[in-house]
């Protein structure tokens, strides 16, 4: 979070809205620890990471949906996911990610 704050503040000063994605559960060989974070601006810019690059693209999409609805979301990613081919974790781990708007 410390390292994301400057970026979040810049986006907010530019009048963009910001969503925050946090790893709230990790199983198996997930590459990022509990609490790993990524911030996403309403323009689709990102800072930080929640995986080794496996699910960030999908998280940006979800974050934009969260920003337009204003409602937080809890999403699970993993090899058994329907989207395994597109956003599965190549490491075989599973992640649960909470995406919330900063309001």
């Amino acid at each position: 979070m410390r390292d994301l704050l400057p970026e979040i503040r810049t986006w907010q000063h530019q009048g963009k809205t910001v969503a925050l994605a946090t790893v709230v559960k990790a199983w198996g060989s997930s590459p990022r620890p509990l609490g790993a974070k990524m911030a996403i601006s309403s323009e689709g810019e990102m800072a930080g990471s929640v995986s080794g690059g496996c699910v960030e693209g999908a998280v940006v999409e979800e974050a934009l949906a969260v920003l337009s609805s204003g409602r937080a979301k809890l999403i699970e990613y993993g090899v058994s996911d329907d989207l395994a081919w597109t956003v599965g974790l190549s490491c075989g781990g599973k992640l649960e990610i909470f995406i919330e708007p900063l309001s």
Binding site: R2, D3, V24, L34, P101, L102, S103
Partner: protein
């Protein structure tokens, strides 16, 4: 996350205080709170007073262990799925000796999220221009400077002067502290003088064995940047339990 929580969180992180954020991920009562190290609520809230009280109680164990975690709290047949995220104070690197290697070590340390402190009584070395990136620059003898700092088991010392009259008092203080890492720059000859002085100062062999000398992993580099990289690499390894 509400702006009020974000603002307060930013303020507390900047002050290097331990705080936690508790968030309802799933459940009938939404909400989020920011708690201080004692479990007192600093910002945010839940609509249910019972949940607020239960969260304050649960937060204590996470704050005490400085770990984040997930927990379900049941109130009147309703379950709330919560995430407790603890923000411990950052690890701290204390560099004794405002030498060239120190400039690069501070830069690497900052990049990796360490709080950085440089101590050197020699005004020719310890200048604000050279150490603009450091969180603290103390132009004092180590004994005076270290008395002002909190040394925890998440503190890492790099002694870089290889001048015994500056290094030795700092090593003695570090050895009496819970510091996780003590590395010293210097040849075998310099180090054997240090060891002899420490033995005379009644330090035990296990105490002396805490010192990493020569400092840093053996990467083979000779440039100041390369030596700084070897030192920060050793600090990272020690921090994560590698020998």
């Amino acid at each position: 996350m509400e702006q009020a929580i974000l603002d307060k969180l930013e303020e507390k992180l900047a002050a290097h205080e331990t705080v936690a954020v508790a968030t309802v991920l799933r459940g009938p009562i939404a909400g989020q709170v920011l708690l201080d190290a004692t479990g007192r609520i600093l910002a945010g809230g839940f609509e249910s007073e019972q949940l607020t009280a239960a969260v304050a109680v649960s937060s204590k164990s996470y704050l005490a262990d400085l770990r984040s975690g997930r927990e379900e709290i049941r109130i009147d047949d309703q379950t709330s799925d919560l995430f407790f995220e603890v923000y411990p104070p950052p690890p701290q690197i204390i560099v004794i000796g405002a030498v060239h290697v120190a400039i690069h070590l501070i830069a690497f340390g900052k990049r990796l999220g360490y709080r950085t402190v440089v101590i050197d009584p020699r005004t020719a070395f310890a200048t604000v221009e050279r150490f603009a990136e450091a969180d603290e620059l103390l132009i004092e003898w180590p004994t005076e400077a270290l008395a002002k700092l909190v040394i925890t088991d998440n503190t890492y010392f790099a002694m870089l002067t290889h001048d015994l009259k500056i290094d030795l008092p700092a090593i003695e203080i570090a050895l009496r502290s819970p510091a996780r890492y003590i590395g010293t720059l210097g040849s075998k000859k310099t180090h054997s003088k240090r060891v002899a002085a420490l033995r005379e100062g009644r330090f035990s062999e296990p105490d002396i064995a805490r010192i990493h000398n020569p400092i840093g992993l053996d990467l083979g580099g000779r440039r100041a940047e390369e030596i700084a990289l070897a030192i920060i690499a050793e600090i990272v390894a020690v921090r994560h339990g590698r020998p």
